[in-house]
């Protein structure tokens, strides 16, 4: 077990700079998620940690040691690849035991530890099967077991769940979390799926265009996005452009609407352009506007139920506005019916 660290690293492929001054710190035993759209540099960051790529600038440290010169085969990291990268010509036991074999472990030890690990990932007794005889979820577990059995200093996961069905994916997220805790291993997951990042990571780093946009605990990042990009990328957000009217009172003017009273960040200048961000689930359905905050009224444009929650949107002078309510509340609503959405200052982020 060790802590992982990227210290102000930069990296290029040819003339294309894919990482700028990226720093990342994963304390011992923690689960860290790196999230970003494709091309954001998240996979490059993982390849730097793994040793498949070298930084042009900055340092990569594992357990406090600079590992820049260490090839991947000597970094003692477990890696789970997006397509699992199982060895098709080896049975499951052979796949899982491979790392131990490379470390010169004895036959009996390999068998014992392989068996234990397969039990841990819930594949006991399938050791003699071949990868192409397993389902996607099972292959995923094999990949995980193979990476963990060598007791790596850290576990790196590259979009490990992207090839799975939605239902299995959710199941596997819980499994991943459980197994990581039980193994007590430091882990970094790279993903473009915000939900996955939010549910798995102890902490979260959002990358865009090779730069770190925001870093922090999932709750914090989700609720207090530092930029329009982060707000839009992590979950849904209604964004409204506005201008600060009375900084002392925290009033912001929106287009064609009344000024709204808000908690503005200290030091906001009078007349500055700001963006207000309101998550759909932060709206309350109200009969009429009351109290401070923002109220928007309009007819319901569309509605649909996704399970325990329902999503909808209303038409307002500011454009369509999305909201989310719990399913029971949907009973009172119908397309075309006018409603008012209300958000208190606490529900509104100023960017």
């Amino acid at each position: 077990m060790a802590e992982l660290e990227l210290d102000r690293v930069g990296m290029s492929y040819g003339n294309t700079r894919v990482l700028h001054d990226v720093s990342l710190q994963v304390p011992d035993g923690r689960f860290h998620a790196v999230v970003g759209p494709s091309g954001s540099g998240k996979t490059s960051a993982l390849r730097l940690l793994a040793g498949f790529a070298r930084p042009d600038a900055g340092q990569v440290r594992i357990g406090g040691h600079d590992v820049g010169a260490l090839p991947p085969e000597r970094r003692d990291l477990g890696i789970v690849f997006q397509n699992y990268a199982l060895f098709p010509h080896m049975d499951i036991a052979g796949n899982v035991g491979f790392g131990l074999r490379m470390r010169g472990a004895g036959r009996a030890e390999i068998r014992r530890r392989t068996g234990e690990m397969l039990e841990l990932v819930g594949l006991g007794g399938l050791g003699a099967r071949y990868p192409d005889e397993l389902s996607g979820g099972q292959q995923q577990r094999v990949a995980l077991a193979r990476a963990l059995v060598i007791r790596p200093k850290a576990l790196l996961l590259d979009e490990p769940l992207s090839a799975l069905d939605r239902k299995i994916r959710q199941e596997m997220q819980l499994e991943l979390r459980r197994i990581q805790r039980e193994a007590g291993v430091t882990a970094v997951i790279v993903t473009h799926d915000q939900e996955e990042a939010l549910s798995l990571g102890d902490r979260l780093t959002v990358l865009d265009a090779g730069r770190v946009c925001q870093e922090g605990p999932p709750f914090e990042v989700y609720n207090h996005p530092a930029s329009v990009f982060v707000a839009g990328f992590l979950g849904n957000a209604n964004l409204f452009a506005g201008r600060v009217r009375a900084a002392a009172e925290g009033r912001v003017a929106l287009k064609d609407a009344e000024a709204v009273g808000l908690h503005l960040p200290p030091g906001t200048a009078e007349g500055a352009a700001v963006t207000l961000c309101i998550r759909p689930e932060r709206w309350r359905l109200a009969a009429d506007a009351e109290g401070p905050g923002l109220a928007l009224a309009g007819p319901i444009r569309h509605l649909h139920q996704t399970g325990e929650t329902g999503n909808g949107a209303i038409d307002t002078p500011l454009g369509p506005v999305a909201f989310t309510v719990l399913s029971p509340a949907l009973g009172d609503l119908a397309t075309g019916k006018p409603v008012t959405l209300h958000a208190t200052p606490r529900d509104i982020q100023v960017l």
Partner: protein, 310 residues
């Protein structure tokens, strides 16, 4: 409709009218293969027992007796043919493997397809032209010997033409592109992340080759073995033209039995011996491969569409 022919209990059924067109699809190919391959090859065994000349003599088994009587000649020639075939195959693998690897991993796709095409095109014209080109190249006083002589490395009148080395060189040259193709196809199928995975698990360069790349290209290697070793061990032209006094091969003698000695039964006996030994060796290689890498030679896709892995 298409699925109507589910086998049912094994009762002898009369062919329904709808099945005739289907049988008509496979009938020409089947008839051809049976009439022109299965039957003639099987009949070789019968012909080999007759007493020549021709194929209408009495059954005596004389030619087998003659061959067994001279194990030094027939066994020796057979061994030489196999050794030349195996040597050429080994050289092909040694040269083709890095070539296929480099093409797959270090050459841009466009250049790659051009190089592959350039490699194979001359070999699709006529084997005889290539043998002849090699003859011109290595002939005494020819371009290669003159160049070597100019460098002071040899005398221009010396040459490997008319030696076994010339035959080995030619066989290697003849089949190299086909081995490159077979190995390239196999190497292309190895996903780069599989090698990354092996690396991350601690496999060094050699270990990655030994445990991942080699077994994963094994099916391609076996294909290459069939398409190189079989014709190389069964060749006669290369030896006839380039081999000279010492290059005679088993195939050369088979051909001479027909074209010179008028001894068809002995040609049949020799042909069937060669075929049997080649098939036996291929079987042994396959067995060894399966022993060494049990998973590598599985038919792919036990859960999938099932394959006629080519």
């Amino acid at each position: 409709m298409i699925r109507s022919r589910t086998g049912g209990p094994g009762v002898a059924r009369a062919l329904r009218p709808a099945e005739w067109p289907r049988l008509a699809l496979m009938a020409p190919a089947t008839a051809l293969l049976i009439a022109m391959v299965a039957v003639p090859v099987a009949m070789l065994a019968w012909f080999s027992l007759l007493s020549g000349p021709g194929v209408s003599g009495a059954v005596t088994g004389r030619e087998w007796a003659v061959m067994l009587d001279r194990p030094q000649l027939y066994g020796g020639l057979l061994l030489r043919s196999l050794a030349l075939g195996l040597g050429a195959t080994a050289l092909c693998i040694l040269i083709a493997w890095p070539t296929a690897w480099a093409l797959s991993r270090h050459v841009a796709p466009r250049t790659r397809s051009a190089i592959l095409a350039l490699l194979i095109i001359p070999h699709l014209t006529s084997a005889l032209l290539l043998i002849y080109a090699m003859y011109v190249l290595i002939a005494p006083g020819g371009p290669m010997m003159t160049a070597l002589a100019a460098l002071g490395l040899a005398e221009s009148r010396d040459t490997i033409l008319f030696t076994r080395w010339a035959v080995l060189l030619m066989l290697t040259y003849m089949y190299l592109p086909f081995m490159v193709m077979a190995l390239f196809a196999a190497i292309e199928r190895i996903e780069p992340t599989v090698l990354d995975a092996a690396r991350s698990l601690g496999a060094s360069g050699w270990a990655r080759f030994r445990h991942i790349v080699l077994p994963m290209t094994l099916p391609g290697l076996m294909t290459g073995l069939v398409i190189v070793f079989t014709p190389a061990a069964g060749s006669f032209l290369e030896a006839r033209i380039l081999g000279g006094a010492n290059g005679m091969m088993f195939g050369t003698l088979i051909a001479e039995q027909i074209s010179r000695a008028n001894n068809q039964p002995r040609a049949a006996a020799m042909a069937i011996t060669l075929l049997a030994v080649i098939l036996l060796l291929l079987g042994v290689f396959r067995l060894l491969a399966m022993r060494a890498f049990p998973g590598a030679m599985r038919r792919p896709g036990a859960h999938g569409s099932g394959g006629w892995g080519g």
